[in-house]
């Protein structure tokens, strides 16, 4: 069990109104394979991923990461976990604009204190594996959306995480490029002992996943 949630709830208070982004989600996610979370826009997918990824704290309920209760983990260690054990892929890529493709991929390794030389060879390796051997020195703004998302995937893989969290990774891409990204994620879940959780409303992503969860108005419906 890599991730387990118990009655996971996240509320937002906007003035006097209360928005239920995630409500009493009970998930058990086993190691390996792709888990898709499918739901319309505004259903709570991003909120759920942020909670699982320790980017956010629940209003109530509990998240267990590798059977460890996460509510009691201090901020500093939560960052360590994110850095070492998790990789994030965002809908809008979120690459750092001033760094080259290579440097963006090296960054998580640098933050982990991996020697410069190793960073370089491994980052090149990662970028090659997503088909970007020719784009190492390019800045994000010099890359196409598809290429940006590949860099983002390479970055997410930088520290060999056991959990990849992808938030609508094909959302900004045309269908052909989207398919390429789906193939990459699929490969990934096969090759490495990696669990991929993908939030999406792309049916093609849902199709290739081993586990398909649906979410609506913050509630997991299956």
């Amino acid at each position: 069990m890599i991730v387990e949630t118990k009655d996971l709830t996240r509320l937002y208070h906007l003035g006097s109104s209360r928005i239920t982004a995630v409500y009493k989600a009970n998930l058990k996610i086993e190691e390996g394979g792709i888990v898709s979370i499918v739901g319309p826009s505004g259903s709570g997918k991003t909120t759920l991923l942020n909670l699982i990824g320790l980017n956010d704290k629940p209003t109530s309920g509990e998240i267990f990461f590798r059977d460890r209760k996460t509510s009691s983990i201090p901020d500093k260690e939560r960052r360590k976990i994110r850095l070492r054990d998790m990789g994030f892929i965002f809908q809008t890529f979120n690459l750092l604009p001033t760094l080259t493709a290579l440097e963006n991929v090296e960054l998580p390794m640098a933050l982990l204190g991996i020697p410069q030389e190793t960073q370089r060879t491994q980052a090149v390796e990662r970028l090659k594996s997503v088909g970007l051997a020719e784009r190492l020195e390019h800045k994000p703004r010099e890359l196409s959306n598809g290429e940006r998302q590949r860099v983002a995937i390479a970055r997410a893989l930088a520290n060999n995480p056991s959990l990849i969290l992808a938030d609508e990774p094909t959302g900004e891409l045309d269908s052909e490029t989207g398919q390429e990204i789906i193939d990459l994620l699929l490969n990934l879940s096969k090759k490495e002992t990696t669990t991929v959780i993908v939030a999406t409303h792309d049916e093609r992503v849902a199709k290739v996943s081993q586990v398909k969860l649906s979410i609506k108005d913050g509630e997991i419906t299956n």
């Binding site: 991003t46 956010d56 960052r79 994030f88 979120n94 001033t98 760094l99 440097e103």
Partner: protein
């Protein structure tokens, strides 16, 4: 290492903003340095004058305006008063001097009022200059038409021992003075000093040199063991229309003025620092708010808090440092330019002594202050940046 690279690239990416901010900081620093150096130098020049006549009493006509030992404006002292002072118990010597600020040496170039001509009776030179020597090869005047010059004036007009100097007296009669010596002193006043025999000074400054006026000040030396204040009291009591100034009194006259100048300087400097701080904070806030998503991304991939903190502070420090260095360089030259204006010492002479005006201490102080101000100004936005909620930061539109 990569953090620093990111900072520099971000500054380069926002070239106009970075340049403007650096320009703003430089501008503030230029004024801080220029005003600071100028006032420090100016007050130093005035304090310097206080080295004259220490332990002696300076007697001037009542109502004379005195800066340290020297009457700037005021009347003259006749022979009989000097005789009266000499008669006072305890007085050893009463040496009249004729001081004029801003005497013009015609036929050369007009000199600014910061020149000071001092007429001193033969043999009493040390009453004025103490142990200050002359440059090798020089002599104190032994003839009425001989003159000793300060280094700055001599250099400015290319005068050496033996050079001649035509001057006009009050009746437009020409006198040719010969330079007999150059003072070897860096005192601000002596640098611009023109020391001539009292006899010649009287001829130059009084329309009728036969008047009984001997000068406009009297330097009074007294027997050791006596109190300055005591002798001053006797002079006041036994002469009429004369003010006797002790060393302390002479300081008291000028201290309020100097401290006013320094207060103004401190006030202006504080305002400039405050403005710099506002500017830096503003730019830091803009830099941060447009990068909320980048910082949130860094947070999401697990960067420690200090990464963001370091980024913001490094950028700001860089701006502050570059700004203050440019400001110090430009400000130093401006200060020298000002100083050259108000002392009328030529720029070329000043430039070689730039650190006498812009002291290393001032430079260090400005650098340290600017860095401190920048850090302080950057720290608040930087701390705010580390508090950006990750989930919210990731959603931001930038």
């Amino acid at each position: 290492m990569r953090i620093t690279v990111m900072c520099f690239r971000n500054l380069l990416r926002r070239r106009l903003r970075t340049t403007l901010c650096i320009f703003g900081i430089s501008l503030a620093t230029v004024f801080i340095v220029a005003i600071g150096a100028t006032t420090t130098h100016y007050t130093q020049v005035i304090r310097d004058m206080n080295i004259f006549f220490t332990g002696k009493i300076v007697a001037v006509p009542e109502g004379a305006m005195v800066v340290q030992g020297f009457p700037v404006v005021g009347g003259n002292i006749p022979q009989n008063i000097i005789e009266e002072i000499k008669q006072i118990e305890g007085v050893e010597a009463a040496v009249p001097m004729l001081v004029r600020f801003g005497y013009q040496i015609e036929a050369i170039v007009q000199l600014a009022p910061s020149n000071i001509t001092i007429g001193v009776p033969y043999g009493n030179w040390s009453m004025l200059v103490g142990a200050t020597p002359l440059e090798p090869g020089g002599n104190w005047p032994s003839e009425r038409d001989e003159v000793v010059l300060g280094q700055s004036i001599a250099a400015q007009y290319g005068l050496k021992v033996g050079s001649t100097l035509p001057v006009k007296d009050m009746n437009k009669t020409m006198h040719i003075l010969t330079v007999s010596g150059i003072l070897d002193s860096r005192s601000a006043l002596l640098l611009r000093g023109i020391i001539i025999p009292l006899e010649m000074a009287r001829r130059l400054h009084y329309e009728n040199p036969d008047v009984t006026w001997k000068g406009n000040m009297v330097v009074v030396a007294f027997e050791s063991g006596l109190k300055e204040e005591e002798i001053a009291e006797r002079i006041r009591a036994e002469t009429r229309g004369i003010e006797a100034l002790t060393t302390d009194l002479r300081n008291e006259i000028v201290e309020p003025l100097l401290s006013d100048i320094e207060t103004w300087n401190a006030g202006i400097t504080s305002v400039l620092y405050a403005l710099s701080m506002v500017l830096i904070t503003l730019v830091a806030m803009i830099n941060i708010s447009e990068r909320r998503r980048d910082f949130a991304t860094l947070d999401a991939i697990g960067a420690p808090k200090r990464t963001v903190l370091r980024m913001v502070v490094t950028e700001i420090l860089f701006i502050g440092l570059i700004g203050s260095i440019i400001g110090i360089v430009v400000g130093s030259f401006s200060a020298v330019l000002f100083a050259s204006q108000y002392t009328n010492i030529p720029l070329s002479l000043f430039l070689s002594n730039i650190f006498e005006i812009v002291t290393p201490w001032l430079i260090v102080r400005v650098l340290v202050s600017t860095v401190a101000v920048a850090t302080l100004a950057g720290l608040v936005p930087a701390l705010a940046a580390t508090r950006i909620n990750i989930a919210e930061g990731l959603r931001s539109e930038y």
